[in-house]
């Protein structure tokens, strides 16, 4: 069986999963299984079949597992978003549609040779920095939850950080391919760029208060530097610099300080000062309210979960118990409704995606492609780790999205770009000479 036929089979399975998930949400909401569930299932399947056909035409030798995995992940996301808020579910569906469109357009545009991107590497580098700093431009950025992540463009809001990640990976793939020999010699003066990027990461934290995207982008940088040079020492030095810098900022920035305090001690036995209302409260009722409620949500799921549509996210009077559930905390909703089984299945999808992505990097012929595929894949894994790890109290909680699952347009589109990139690299690596 060829990769494309495997892909077709996978997409069909994903369509069934998406239809079942929505039907299950509809039943739990007390309405009958209306035609809409079936219609939705068919539309979902149609969308991914179209994507499959585009891949068949433009990247016939590409890996066959990634598109079906993406379909399953978006099915998770759509079902949960629809369950939590039908309106947002509809908007999310629109964003998936746009994402697939961007995906198809990218494949078509770069079908001959994506490696032309390498020559625009510095452009991507500048774009990455500009995009990262965009939200802190006065009048443009919007603060959500004390963190500047959003940019208003007319009626649209977008999260430039998601696109910055892709640009950064493209820049690093090109730059490191060019400089890897020089860097590998490990002369002191060659540490310049490393220090410059570290400085940029710290600047991003200071400017946007966003520990999460700094961690993500700096992690990607270190991983790609390691792949390019093979020097574990660079990674160690980079990590030390990052931790040291973050520790300094920890004391200097209240926001970072608070995040770390919440992480280390979400529950207090005594009332502590609450910055939200200026009174003395238990921390679990104030600063770490969100985190502990999300942990309760996960704990309430147990092994098998409450069932899709049966979870508890609102109080008896309809008020929300967990703020930002559909974006930052979508994982705790999944863990409650689908339980350990469902959450592990979701994480397994990410693991397979990561394994296939790295396989593409291994098979790629040239340095740029290898670095690009490894960077995209590692970024994908690290992003899932940072947000889910934050929700699970493994690392300090930060507001980044869960790829393909969280509600949010920019994130969906950016991740479809990432998918397109991996398929293009894969297609080239597998093409007969």
């Amino acid at each position: 069986m060829t990769a494309r036929n495997r892909e077709l089979g996978g997409v069909l399975v994903a369509g069934v999963i998406a239809g079942t998930a929505l039907a299950s949400v509809t039943i739990a909401r007390g309405s009958e299984v209306s035609a809409s569930a079936t219609t939705y299932g068919i539309a979902f399947l149609g969308l991914y079949l179209a994507a499959h056909l585009v891949v068949r035409r433009t990247a016939p030798y590409a890996d066959g597992a990634l598109l079906p995995l993406t379909a399953v992940l978006t099915a998770f996301g759509l079902a949960l978003n629809y369950r939590l808020d039908p309106d947002d579910g509809g908007r999310q569906a629109l964003w998936v549609l746009i994402g697939v469109g961007v995906f198809a357009a990218t494949l078509i545009a770069l079908r001959h040779d994506y490696r032309v991107l390498e020559s625009y590497r510095y452009l991507f580098g500048v774009a990455a920095v500009v995009l990262l700093l965009l939200p802190s431009v006065p009048g443009l950025g919007e603060r959500v939850n004390g963190v500047k992540l959003w940019v208003d463009v007319g009626p649209l809001q977008f999260q430039p950080g998601e696109l910055a990640k892709i640009c950064l990976i493209l820049f690093l793939a090109g730059y490191l391919r060019e400089k890897r020999e020089v860097l590998a010699q490990g002369r002191l003066k060659d540490f310049g760029p490393l220090l410059a990027i570290w400085g940029a990461a710290m600047l991003v934290i200071v400017q946007t208060n966003d520990l999460g995207s700094a961690l993500l982008n700096f992690g990607i940088f270190l991983a790609m530097l390691y792949v390019a040079t093979g020097k574990a020492l660079f990674v160690g030095a980079g990590l030390a610099l990052f931790v040291g810098g973050a520790a300094l900022l920890y004391n200097a920035l209240d926001r970072v300080h608070e995040r770390v305090t919440i992480w280390l001690q979400p529950w207090t036995d005594e009332r502590v000062h609450c910055a939200l209302n200026g009174r003395l409260e238990f921390r679990q009722d104030c600063a770490s309210y969100q985190l502990v409620k999300s942990l309760y949500s996960i704990g309430n799921g147990g092994f098998g979960g409450t069932g899709l549509g049966e979870g508890t996210f609102t109080s008896t009077d309809g008020t929300e118990l967990i703020p930002h559930l559909r974006t930052d905390f979508i994982y705790s909703a999944i863990a409650q409704e689908l339980g350990l089984i469902g959450a592990a299945a979701l994480l397994l999808c990410y693991m397979v995606f990561v394994a296939r992505g790295m396989r593409i990097a291994l098979r790629a012929q040239d340095g740029f492609s290898k670095l690009l595929a490894a960077g995209l894949t590692f970024g994908f894994a690290l992003q899932a780790f940072v947000i889910v790890g934050g929700v699970l109290r493994l690392v300090p909680l930060t507001g980044i999205t869960l790829p393909f699952v969280s509600y949010g347009g920019t994130s969906i589109v950016a991740n479809f770009l990432l998918l397109a990139g991996l398929l293009l690299v894969s297609n080239r690596a597998n093409s007969p000479p």
């Binding site: 991983a223 679990q284 309430n300 092994f303 508890t312 309809g318 592990a344 994480l347 990410y350 889910v388």
Partner: protein
């Protein structure tokens, strides 16, 4: 570069793999701990879709807590109603969305929501869930005598205080009243009304279950412990005589009797208890030393949390307190044993503990575990839990207990506790007036046991405490004890 990519793959997979491990941790290992937390609104709200078990009184059999069904966004929710309002508010507690739970509603939540880990409940629950029916919780039958509970609460009135009555043979708690009480139906939406409740004390603290968590200076009721310790030491007998000058000298200071104007002269131990002569007990205390008396108190359950089905933090252990902390002296001289012997000197006790003491004396020294719950019955009528009388320990020898019981009978017959006499029953009791140092704000006590005659074991034990009193235990608390005993005894 391939070697690096392979290593990076391991790192990336490990990052996601760690997430699986952590999710497993929260959903299996830590799940029970999360579920028990008071601020776990998710669990609490989720449990409102369970047809929560009812809570009944023992006699007459009435529903102390029932459910009303309401449909919110296509989901059937069960909200609590407490038909008797303040009557048994402290023991039953409340179950709300906004203010979590208290009392049996909190401590027996697993039974009431059918989430206790018993195979048959799990199967029933799974079947209910599968059929799409609301899960049914198990019903709780308490040991409360509702009429006597009403008598107790009425008698307390606007005074601050508590009444605990139990059957000392079985430990069944018949009355547990705390005043001021509150209406648990207000806890969800009108909590401010509860906070505004006023009574004859400051703060009124209506939510405090004074019966098991109220700590009070015992005063003379502690003499029951001292007398037991004295007899157990074999240095004294009920016939031992003392000369009462009307006061006792400790550390060079005079400690007066309640009434210094008429010293008793030569008096034996039995009469000293009946008439509550401080100087006698003061001298016994000095003779025995603090720790010997405290060790006898420990036999009766002091220095440990009294067993009961209510939440742990709604009970307090009795004993010496230092800076709000339970304190046991390392050496005898650390404590003024003379004053402790008649219940002053930082000694604090709960009514529940003192009812246990009276009960144990009344049944030959056997201390039985107090139980507020009789049984828990599953939805199918199957009894999930039936409480059986449990002996905690033989506190003092039967001879000692019987001798102290005789002294307490004398106190009711012709001593300080005559107001508690009940025709047809043999009542033994002890009055107490704990001085707080402010005139007119004494803590008054009466503890007692009652049986059909002096030879049979007691059928009922009671402790009554009142705050901010100007009278004595004999005039204020004893009549309340009598009224409640009369309501319970056949």
């Amino acid at each position: 570069m391939n070697r690096q990519i392979v290593r990076l793959t391991y790192v990336a997979l490990a990052l996601v793999g760690v997430l699986v491990v952590m999710t497993t941790y929260w959903q299996t290992w830590a799940a029970a701990g999360l579920a028990d937390r008071q601020d776990n609104a998710i669990k609490r709200v989720a449990e409102f879709s369970i047809d929560r078990g009812l809570i009944f009184s023992w006699k007459p059999r009435k529903r102390l807590a029932r459910n009303i069904e309401r449909t919110v966004e296509q989901r059937t929710l069960f909200f609590r109603r407490y038909p008797y309002g303040p009557l048994a508010a402290h023991l039953v507690g409340y179950s709300t969305v906004a203010r979590s739970r208290t009392g049996l509603e909190r401590s027996l939540n697993d039974y009431l929501t059918a989430s206790n880990a018993s195979l048959s409940t799990l199967v029933d629950k799974a079947l209910d869930e599968f059929r799409g029916k609301p899960v049914e919780g198990a019903d709780v039958v308490t040991n409360l005598d509702l009429d006597a509970q009403q008598v107790a609460l009425d008698a307390l009135g606007t005074q601050c205080g508590a009444v605990v009555a139990l059957d000392p043979r079985t430990g069944k708690v018949r009355v547990m009243a705390s005043s001021p009480s509150f209406d648990p139906n207000l806890a969800e939406n009108d909590f401010e009304k509860i906070e505004r409740i006023e009574a004859d004390c400051q703060p009124a603290a209506p939510l405090l279950n004074r019966a098991s968590a109220g700590l009070y200076v015992p005063g003379s009721i502690f003499k029951v412990i001292t007398a037991s310790a004295a007899l157990e030491s074999e240095k004294f007998t009920p016939e031992s005589t003392f000369v009462d000058p009307g006061y006792c000298t400790v550390y060079g200071k005079r400690v007066n009797n309640f009434d210094t104007t008429s010293p008793f002269g030569t008096i034996d131990l039995e009469s000293a208890l009946a008439y509550s002569v401080n100087s006698v007990f003061c001298n016994i205390g000095k003779e025995l030393g603090a720790r010997r008396i405290l060790d006898t108190a420990k036999r009766f359950g002091f220095y440990e949390l009294p067993p009961l089905e209510t939440p742990r933090d709604e009970r307090e252990p009795s004993g010496l307190y230092d800076n709000r902390r339970l304190y046991y002296p390392a050496r005898d001289p650390d404590i003024d044993a003379g004053r402790m012997a008649f219940g002053q000197e930082r000694m604090l006790v709960t009514p529940l503990q003192m009812a246990m003491v009276a009960g144990a004396i009344g049944v030959g020294g056997r201390l039985i575990e107090p139980q507020a719950v009789d049984r828990i019955v599953g939805p199918g009528g199957k009894v999930l839990l039936r409480q059986r009388p449990t002996l905690i320990r033989q506190t003092v020898s039967q001879e000692t207990a019987d001798a102290v019981a005789a002294m307490m009978r004398l106190a009711v017959e012709r001593g300080t506790g005559t107001a508690a006499q009940l025709s047809g029953y043999s009542v033994g009791g002890k009055t107490g007036t704990g001085e707080t140092g402010v005139p007119g704000s004494n803590t008054t006590w009466f503890i007692a046991f009652a049986g059909p005659d002096a030879e049979s074991p007691a059928e009922l034990a009671i402790a009554v405490v009142l705050q901010n009193q100007s009278g004595t235990g004999g005039t204020t608390a004893a009549p309340i004890a009598r009224a409640v005993m009369q309501a319970i005894l056949p």
